[in-house]
């Protein structure tokens, strides 16, 4: 770091990025995923079923969303701090961090008029 030219910095940064990428291909999620409660949900005709779920508070959980519509939608929730696109006919896992007790709104951003729901943490 004694004489750090932008080029040298760039190499260091690339190296760091490569390390991060290495880190990324070995997710610790596989072990964690097994003991995380999973809530199944479907999106059909741009409506979530169930549209309300109750989850344990202060505990990580995940929503397994199956999009039965032909077009993609984005599971979007400012309250839950997640956004994830799930393509038409596909299934996506939405990982949610521990929540304090309360009600958390979510929506399918591309069809927000109908695709709405609530997560209640207790």
């Amino acid at each position: 770091m004694a004489s750090l030219s932008p080029a040298a910095f760039f190499r260091t940064a690339l190296f760091t990025a490569a390390c991060l990428a290495e880190f990324a291909v070995s997710p610790v999620s596989s072990a964690a995923a097994a003991d995380v409660p999973t809530f199944e949900m479907t999106l059909k005709d741009h409506v979530f079923t169930p549209s309300e779920i109750e989850v344990p508070a202060n505990q990580r959980f995940q929503i397994k969303l199956t999009n039965e519509d032909a077009t993609p939608d984005e599971f979007d929730s400012h309250d839950l701090r997640v956004e994830k696109v799930v393509g038409g006919g596909q299934t996506g896992i939405i990982r949610i961090q521990p929540l304090v007790p309360g009600r958390y709104m979510f929506m399918g951003e591309y069809h927000a008029a109908t695709a709405r729901g609530v997560v209640t943490a207790k």
Partner: protein, 279 residues
Amino acid sequence: MLASFVIVFREVIEAGLVVGVVLAATRGLAHRGAYVAGGVFAGFLGACLVAAFAGAIADLFEGSGQEALNAAVLLVAVVMLIWHNAWMASHGRELARSLKSVGEEVKAGHRSLMALAIVCAVAVLREGSEVVLFLYGVAAAGQTTASGILGGGLLGIAGGAVISALLYLGLIAIPLRHLFGVLTALITLLAAGLAAQAMRFLAQGGWLNDWVTPLWDTSSVLSEESLPGRIAHILVGYASQPSASELAAYLAVIAVMLVVRWFAGQERDGHRGGMRASA
């Protein structure tokens, strides 16, 4: 139509504000228009590719491909912005003095422009792919209201462009002697905010399991859902409910920026001293 305007507008300002900052930061550099336009165009092509292969991408990394892609492109943008600021620290003063420079400076300028073109490209790629997916969905569904929704989308693009242009015009109205300082600060906070966002995607992808719960909630003061909140989120990384990892990434990028700038400044001064001694 209103709903589609809102969605497209939201995504376009996210990318557009970044492009506005980059355009202001590259004022006076030769060929900057071509670089920025090239970056935006590459980002648009990338967005179409990401949208087309959204399913395949989502399936990577045990279903966390989307999060991996988002985190990766955000971190690439952070690195490019840090590099740009380092370059500015060592060449900014000369640049301010004579906006036309020659030789090595111009070459270095091209590299800095390339870094910023990449920043534009990844901003457009990230936000653009969501717009493309949304509009594709509308078109594919063949709804009778499709034309209205597409119209709303076009208005959204125009609205986002106007906000971005206002930012650009506001920035370049700043007197030149203050402009470099303002842009350096803005790029630092922009990069810090992107790094914090990357942490959120790493958490969502399952790679980050600690320091992930919100530390506080200021959404009653400034909601990220509001337009001012959203603009603050993009430009200075405002988050109403930051987690410890997001805060740490934010502060770490600011610290790295300061250290890199200090080293780059030292090197410049050392270099100049050497030149003077040999002359």
